[in-house]
Every structure is written in C-alpha cells, then in structure tokens.
C-alpha cells in the first residue's frame, strides 16, 4: 500500500467511521455484529480504495459497501423481532391527538434514548434504513436513493411512513408510561 493511498483513505474515509458504525448498529440490531460489519466495510473499502474517485462522496460510497455487505453476509442471521405494520399508518394522527394537550410535543423529552432506538429497530428493514440514513445521518434524499437503489419518490414515501409509524409507536409508549394522557375518543 502506498503512503498516498493510506493518507487519502485516512483523510476521506476514516472520518465517516462513526456514521458507518451507527448505520451498522441499526441494520444489524446488535453491537457485536455492528462492529464486525463496520470492520469488514472499512477494510473492503480500503482494499478497493483505488476505485474510489477522490473528492466524490466517500460517505455514500462507504454506506453502499456497508449495505451490500449486510445484505449479502449478515441479513440471514438477524434476529427477527416484532415489526411494526407501517401500511396501517395514517397521516399526522399523533398531532391530532395531542394538539390540545401538548401541541409543542413536550412528551418527547420524557422518552429515554433506548426506547427511541428500540422503536426504530422495530421498523421493517427498508423503512428503518431510510429513516436511519435521513434522521440519524442527515443524508439528502438523492443520496439515500442512490445507496438504497430506489427512486427518490420511494425514499420520500418510505421516510414519510417510517417517521409516522415511529411517532405513533413513541406516542403509545408515552401514553403507557403516563407521560401524556390519551385523548378520550370524541363523540
């Protein structure tokens, strides 16, 4: 390996290691696998670094390698937990329920981090990965479309349903924990 190759990898790819790990953690659902997946992704990327064009999008390139590695080698072993039905989701029902008692969404503050991650993990895979790339990593729709190999329109609709399904989950949890009172059914 040339010094130049190593230096450019360290400058362009390594700063994204945390992002790769976070996405790996949400894809695989456990820390040990996330570490293995991250290590494998970074080493594959390093070996293939000559195929990367300097100054283009290293983060998207790494996340694409991560996703392919996960799909080809890890997905089969993922523990199958309960998943939320995102097809049932209606638009903005949580806001409708809370607009009179808590329109500012203060109840969100009471929800612990672990519960947020648990709820994300319960989303079906394609919705979870879209939400993670958008809301955990802050990627633009076009980049998510490229990584997940779907049209931008699909990213939009998946993100919409994922956010709404997650919000409904978190709201139900907050009601259950007594952080917020459920609105009595009208009429």
């Amino acid at each position: 390996m040339s010094d130049h190759k190593q230096r450019s990898f360290e400058e362009e790819a390594l700063p994204h290691l945390d992002a790769v790990y976070r996405v790996a953690l949400r894809l695989s659902g456990n820390e040990t696998q996330a570490e293995d997946l991250t290590q494998e992704t970074m080493l594959k990327a390093y070996r293939a670094w000559s195929q990367y064009r300097e100054g283009t999008n290293a983060r998207a390139w790494l996340l694409t390698i991560l996703r392919n590695t996960f799909i080809n080698e890890y997905r089969r072993t993922r523990r199958m937990g309960p998943t939320v039905d995102v097809t049932e989701v209606e638009s903005f029902t949580v806001f409708r329920d809370v607009q009179e008692v808590d329109p500012e969404g203060r109840f969100f503050d009471d929800i612990v981090d672990d519960e947020v991650l648990r709820a994300i993990d319960a989303l079906p895979e394609e919705f979870r990965e879209t939400l993670v790339l958008s809301d955990v990593e802050g990627l633009p729709y076009a980049e998510i479309a490229k990584i997940t190999e779907v049209p931008v329109g699909t990213v939009k609709s998946r993100l919409f349903r994922a956010r709404q399904a997650l919000q409904a989950q978190l709201y139900d949890y907050a009601v259950e924990m007594g952080y917020i009172k459920k609105r009595e059914a009208a009429e």
């Binding site: 390996m1 290691l17 991250t38 080493l43 947020v116 991650l117 809301d135 633009p140 939009k156 956010r163």
Partner: protein
C-alpha cells in the same frame, strides 16, 4: 406577472411538509408552503410539532460513536493486514 407564490391548500402542505422541513423542495415549491404557513395557524402548529419531532430524533440517535477499540483494530488491520484467505 406577480411574484406571489401560488396558493396551495392544507392538504398539499401536509403532503409536502417533510420535504419542506428537510430542505428538499425547490425554492418555488418551498415558498408556496411558507406562504401558506404564514396564514394558517393549524398548519403552522403541525409544522412546529413535526420540527420538534425530527430534531428530537436527531438529538437522541446521533450521539453514538464507534468504540475506540474498534477504530484501533481497523487501523491495525489496515497497516498490518492478516492473511484471511
């Protein structure tokens, strides 16, 4: 010709709300949503609720970084690759 954005209704705002908040709309489309929000209290309330929610998600999930041990392991493997064939 007028520079005023085209008037859109609440349903259209709801449909585009996430794209608007994510900065994914063209300037023209974004201005239409913005103009509607200025005149519509219910949509403004919804918009600020969803903004709170998205910021909450970001704040609660972006904090985890890769363990230092893992970083070290990857660097070592880069410098001194082991034959894993």
């Amino acid at each position: 010709m007028t520079d005023r954005p085209r008037a859109i209704d609440c349903a259209e705002v709801m449909e585009r709300l996430y794209e608007y908040l994510d900065g994914e709309l063209t300037t023209e489309r974004s201005d239409e949503v913005k103009a509607h929000l200025q005149d519509c209290a219910p949509c403004t309330a919804l918009s600020s609720f969803e903004t709170t929610y998205i910021r909450f998600l970001e704040a609660r999930t972006r904090t985890r970084n890769a363990p230092e041990e893992l970083k070290k392991r990857i660097l070592e493997e880069m410098l001194f690759p082991q034959d894993d064939s």
